[in-house]
């Protein structure tokens, strides 16, 4: 029997193996591979590697500029960062509930949770945008000093990932609205969810490193 697998996912591999009659492998594969499309996980690992390098560069550059970093860290709006952290954690939780809903066969529930997650993402963008407006209004640029160079580049790089994550979640929500997923086939939802959790994960390290630790 000829089996075509266009996308590599744990679900699809398991389905292919079932089709060709390889018994007992489905559960084993489901326990070996993460949820969603494997391709997104390769992308996630690449993104995480870049952020890890960024974090290490920040910490080691700070070694030679401790006073400068500690002084200008005080100019940041920690309350805004708290709101953004709570917004991203909450949005990640909503995405978990969206995946749970579609696994129970509810496209409608999935859409509702995804819209809530998008709302939290939008809140993040508004709060972060206000922070940028404040800093730019004070004449802060990438070349103001080393701390602001790291602060602006790190947070803006993450900001762009939030936007990309929201686009992905919106696309998933549109497909779910059209009934495009089911309890048996919802790899797209898991793929989008995995990316969004990565965006949240990065911020969970960025927030204490840039706003709190000194």
């Amino acid at each position: 029997m000829k089996v075509h697998c266009r996308r590599v996912t744990s679900n699809r591999i398991a389905w292919c193996l079932e089709e060709v009659g390889v018994e007992g492998k489905t559960n084993d594969l489901a326990q070996r591979y993460p949820p969603g499309d494997l391709a997104i996980w390769i992308f996630i690992l690449a993104e995480l590697a870049v952020f890890a390098a960024f974090f290490a560069a920040y910490a080691f550059t700070r070694m030679d500029n401790v006073e400068l970093f500690d002084t200008y860290q005080q100019s940041l709006d920690r309350r805004a960062a708290l709101i953004n952290t709570l917004a991203l954690i909450t949005s990640s939780y909503f995405v978990v509930r969206a995946v749970a809903a579609v696994r129970e066969g509810s496209n409608h529930g999935c859409v509702r949770w995804l819209l809530a997650a998008l709302g939290m993402g939008l809140l993040f963008l508004v709060v972060k945008g206000n922070e940028y407006a404040h800093h730019f209004g004070e004449g802060v640029t990438l070349s103001t000093n080393t701390f602001y160079m790291f602060y602006l580049s790190l947070t803006f790089f993450h900001f762009m990932h939030v936007i990309l994550g929201m686009i992905i979640l919106a696309a998933v929500a549109v497909k779910a609205q059209r009934g495009g997923y089911s309890a048996a086939d919802h790899t797209g939802v898991e793929t989008g969810a995995s990316y969004w959790h990565m965006v949240d994960l990065v911020w969970l390290i960025l927030f204490p490193l840039v706003y709190v630790m000194r």
Partner: protein, 90 residues
């Protein structure tokens, strides 16, 4: 079928724990606490929250094999580098 329902989902408990840990981190910042021990404690809290995301939100907790440890390794490597850099300046 008689389905047994738990009063709260595990992911909800994790979510609430993460909110609490975030408020602890914020409180440390607002109190103006500084120093190596404080920084390492704040970093440890962040790494714990990161592992929670990997385990319970990304769904890696139940996996076997290398994917189970992907997020742990990602947290461990930059975490160790950040801790080293802060320790050297203390």
């Amino acid at each position: 079928m008689n389905r047994q329902r738990t009063w709260i989902r595990p992911c909800t408990l994790v979510y609430l724990a993460m909110l609490g840990l975030t408020l602890v981190t914020f409180g440390i910042g607002e109190a103006g606490l500084s120093g190596l021990e404080i920084s390492l404690a704040v970093l440890a809290v962040a790494l714990i929250k990161g592992q929670m995301v990997g385990d319970y939100f990304m769904g890696l907790k139940g996996l076997r094999g290398p994917w189970r440890w992907v997020i742990f390794l990602w947290l461990f490597v930059p975490g160790a580098l950040i801790a080293t850099a802060f320790s050297l300046t203390a």
